[in-house]
């Protein structure tokens, strides 16, 4: 076994900032696929994706709760918080890229990769050296340069072990203000509830919940509450059939699930503002979306910094973003060879820093923010 990469509260805070950014990073790809679906078609697929994306919002909230519990300050506005797509995630020793794609077999394959169970083989390190070049990994270790995690599951295991270790040495670890916690009164919908984090036990439950709702328990495809893990939810789309209790992972036996791959707006994959005609109405609409999304992330940051009641305002905000998202994807993107427009999620909207610069800036902001 390698030594822990988490030795102090500050290390934990760094890790939890990465966790919040990681949970958020899954949301734009899921939303792009969801809103690319033609209205009133593909209701099975739309429902599957919608359930998962709402649960990713819960995961983000839970990670923020853990960070708040140990005295950190969630910040969704830092440069680099929203990755530049395609974003890079690990798949064991290998890696893959997450694009903003229309609903398609490729998109489902990406989603399966995101949610795939991935325990490192016993005796192997959960940390893997990051090859030079390419984009930064979303699950890089914030404390050991040049290393990333074997899988998202291993990343969360590292945090849980780190919490246990630091809590054992520092009885005051969970000194965060309980009023900053987001409880079930502020987060409704989907499977699972917002767990207020006040001690090691609740922190462990929150983080295990994140990992297990995504990948499934070792014991099966359903959790204790009868919730199907995300990986298996998406597998239904690939296999064209729903799971039911007692199924083997390879052979769902529930009702058939129909997918109409053609009933989709072919949005340009990982579109950038540079793909939009300069000075056009459509470019202005794409810019407006990014500005609104940036303001929305600022609202969430306030909510996670002592004003959880603001999450109730965030709900109508999300619906407004949904409507703007839908308007964009219905617009053809001129000069793209017949593709449609889609939000670019280039946030912060102030230009002038590439992905590398953003990453460096976010690390600095993180250190200063404490």
């Amino acid at each position: 076994m390698t030594a822990s990469t988490i030795n102090t509260r500050d290390d934990l805070i760094d890790y939890l900032h990465v966790a919040i950014a990681l949970e958020h990073a899954t949301i734009p790809p899921y939303l792009t696929a969801l809103y690319s679906i033609h209205p009133a078609t593909n209701s099975d697929a739309a429902h599957v994706i919608r359930v998962v994306v709402v649960e990713e919002m819960l995961h983000l909230t839970l990670a923020a709760n853990v960070l708040n519990a140990i005295g950190g300050s969630p910040d969704l506005t830092r440069p680099g918080f929203v990755p530049s797509y395609p974003a890079r995630l690990p798949d064991g020793e290998d890696d893959f890229y997450v694009d903003l794609r229309p609903f398609s077999p490729e998109a489902v394959e990406t989603f399966l990769n995101i949610e795939r169970p991935g325990a490192a083989p016993s005796g192997r390190s959960r940390l893997v050296p990051t090859p030079d070049g390419g984009r930064p990994f979303l699950v890089s270790s914030p404390t050991v340069e040049g290393m990333h995690f074997y899988s998202i599951g291993e990343f969360y295991e590292e945090i849980i072990e780190g919490l246990e270790k630091v809590a054992a040495a520092d009885p005051g670890l969970f000194s965060g203000d309980p009023a900053r916690q987001v409880g079930p009164e502020y987060f409704y919908s989907g499977g699972g509830a917002a767990i207020p984090v006040v001690d090691l036990d609740s922190a462990r439950r929150a983080l295990r919940f994140i990992a297990e709702q995504g990948e499934g328990l070792d014991s099966g495809i359903y959790d204790d509450d009868g919730e199907l893990a995300h990986y298996y939810r998406f597998r239904q789309l690939k296999l064209g059939r729903y799971y039911q209790a007692g199924d083997h992972p390879d052979s769902p036996s529930g009702p058939p699930l129909s997918v109409a791959w053609d009933e989709v707006f072919r949005v340009k994959v990982s579109a950038k503002l540079a793909d939009y005609p300069p000075g056009s109405e459509l470019e202005a609409a794409a810019l407006d979306f990014n500005a609104d999304y940036e303001a929305f992330l600022a609202l969430l940051t306030q909510a996670f910094n002592g004003q959880p009641g603001l999450l109730l305002d965030a709900v109508p905000y999300m619906f407004r973003l949904r409507d703007a998202f839908n308007r964009l994807v219905r617009n053809p993107l001129p000069g793209s060879g017949g593709h449609h427009a889609a939000p670019t999620f280039e946030v912060p909207t102030v230009a002038g820093s590439g992905p590398e610069a953003s990453q460096a800036a976010s690390d600095t902001a993180q250190a200063v923010g404490r």
């Binding site: 109405e281 109730l312 709900v315 109508p316 839908n326 308007r327 219905r330 617009n331």
Partner: protein, 169 residues
């Protein structure tokens, strides 16, 4: 200048509704609406409407090709809205975008210009109600659709600045 009838219809619709083309395409219904006008009034009326719009644009352009919005407004009123045949159709196009419905034209119109299918009131698709521009114009959600989020009704409507009285465009 030769452009596709669809593009012309879209540009005319932007003039008639005061919504941008991006917003009109954002309904996902622009093609269906043009098809609806054709089905109701016949292709001749659509061709005449778009011709009149082209002529109105030409009226409002100076030698350098710049368009004066006041002149265009005047030319649209003169060439389209004051026209016995095209005026009611253009008003119906406005209603089509705002309400998602084709409102039957009066018998006086159909008696004179034929196209009896134009007399029937009907919806375009099940999506056209919820995509009606009227909901955006008043910043409300279409009741029963596009859920706006719990408690949003307690907030003032968020009407875009350019649609507020006196704000200008």
């Amino acid at each position: 200048m030769s452009t596709e009838p669809f593009d012309e219809f879209l540009r005319l619709s932007a003039e008639l509704t005061a919504f941008e083309e991006t917003d009109l395409l954002g309904t996902g219904l622009a093609h269906q609406y043009l098809a609806k006008v054709r089905a109701a009034c016949g292709d001749d009326v659509v061709v005449a409407l778009l011709d009149a719009y082209r002529a109105a644009r030409a009226d409002a352009e100076d030698d350098g090709g710049r368009r004066d919005p006041i002149l265009l407004d005047r030319a649209l009123r003169h060439r389209i809205f004051s026209d016995d045949r095209l005026g009611p159709v253009a008003r119906n196009v406005v209603k089509l975008w705002f309400a998602g419905m084709w409102y039957g034209l009066p018998p006086e119109w159909t008696d004179r210009y034929g196209a009896h299918s134009a007399a029937e009131t009907s919806t375009v698709t099940s999506a056209s109600y919820q995509e009606g521009l009227l909901w955006r114009a008043i910043a409300a959600n279409p009741p029963g659709a596009k859920a706006p989020g719990y408690g949003s009704w307690a907030e003032p409507p968020r009407i875009e600045q350019r649609y507020l009285k006196g704000a200008g465009k």
